[in-house]
Amino acid sequence: MTDLFTAIMMRYNAAALSGSLTGLYNTQAPQDAVSPYCVFQLISDDADWTFSENVENCLLQFNLFSDESSPAEICTLFDLLKDAFDFHELTIDNYETIYMVRENSNLTRIEDVWQYNTTYRILLGEL
């Protein structure tokens, strides 16, 4: 999965999204992370096999955070997230991206912080 995480970070750094966030963190943001920022987490990775090929079926969740009072900023960030990752063919060492599709999203506000939680389904074929 290191290869997947590296590919996610590479795509993030190349996309406009990185210019609008203070950082993208794997699984846990530091206590002093500055808004707005994003955390991604591998929710699940189901392995599958054919006679000769190995496939990884991954669920990856992005959590955007914004402490603005208005939802405008986090909605803009969500659009940038979509631009960065919807149907994107991740460049991953030793794998081919068969698809990367957004499955569901929800917007919520907890303790004066907006959260946009978005899940992607990623199917990877091992080369």
Binding site: S52, E53, V55, V101
Partner: protein
């Protein structure tokens, strides 16, 4: 050993020449069929067959109905009305990788598609309008990549 994986469905598309059939959601090709003739007779324990002609099969496309707005869907009507021999139908598995099926130009005579059923529309109050269009393949389709 190089490994290959199938293309995700959303990468597909449908074109006639350079005109895209907007709203397309699925395409299917029944494949070519070789007719066979039984040649066994009385007292034969095992059935035997000889190969006869190849039938080209049918292509069916379905999608969201946009006839009044889309030049591609209107082109289906034009092709149906004039009975065109369509040689540039392209059923894409992946547009970005330029992988598609098209009538095989190397057969003798060259293969072509004909619209045999268009404007086959369903509209339901709890859904959206959808269409189905059918092509008869004379000859056969071949993958291009």
């Amino acid at each position: 050993m190089t490994k290959y994986y199938p293309k995700a469905g959303y990468k597909g598309d449908i074109y006639i020449g350079s005109t895209r059939i907007a709203g397309g959601a699925t395409w299917s090709y029944s494949g070519s069929t070789r007719a066979m003739q039984e040649t066994d007779e009385f007292n034969d324990e095992i059935k035997t067959d000889i190969p006869l002609q190849i039938t080209g099969g049918e292509v069916t496309i379905t999608g969201n109905y946009l006839m009044s707005q889309d030049a591609g869907q209107q082109l289906l009507k034009t092709k149906f009305d004039d009975g065109s021999q369509i040689t540039d139908l392209k059923l894409y598995l992946s547009v970005t990788d330029s992988i598609y099926m098209t009538p095989d130009s190397t057969t003798t005579p060259a293969s072509y598609a004909t619209v045999t059923n268009y404007d086959n529309v369903t509209h339901d109050k709890s859904g959206i309008g959808t269409f189905t269009c059918t092509f008869k393949i004379s000859g056969k389709m071949k993958p291009t990549y």
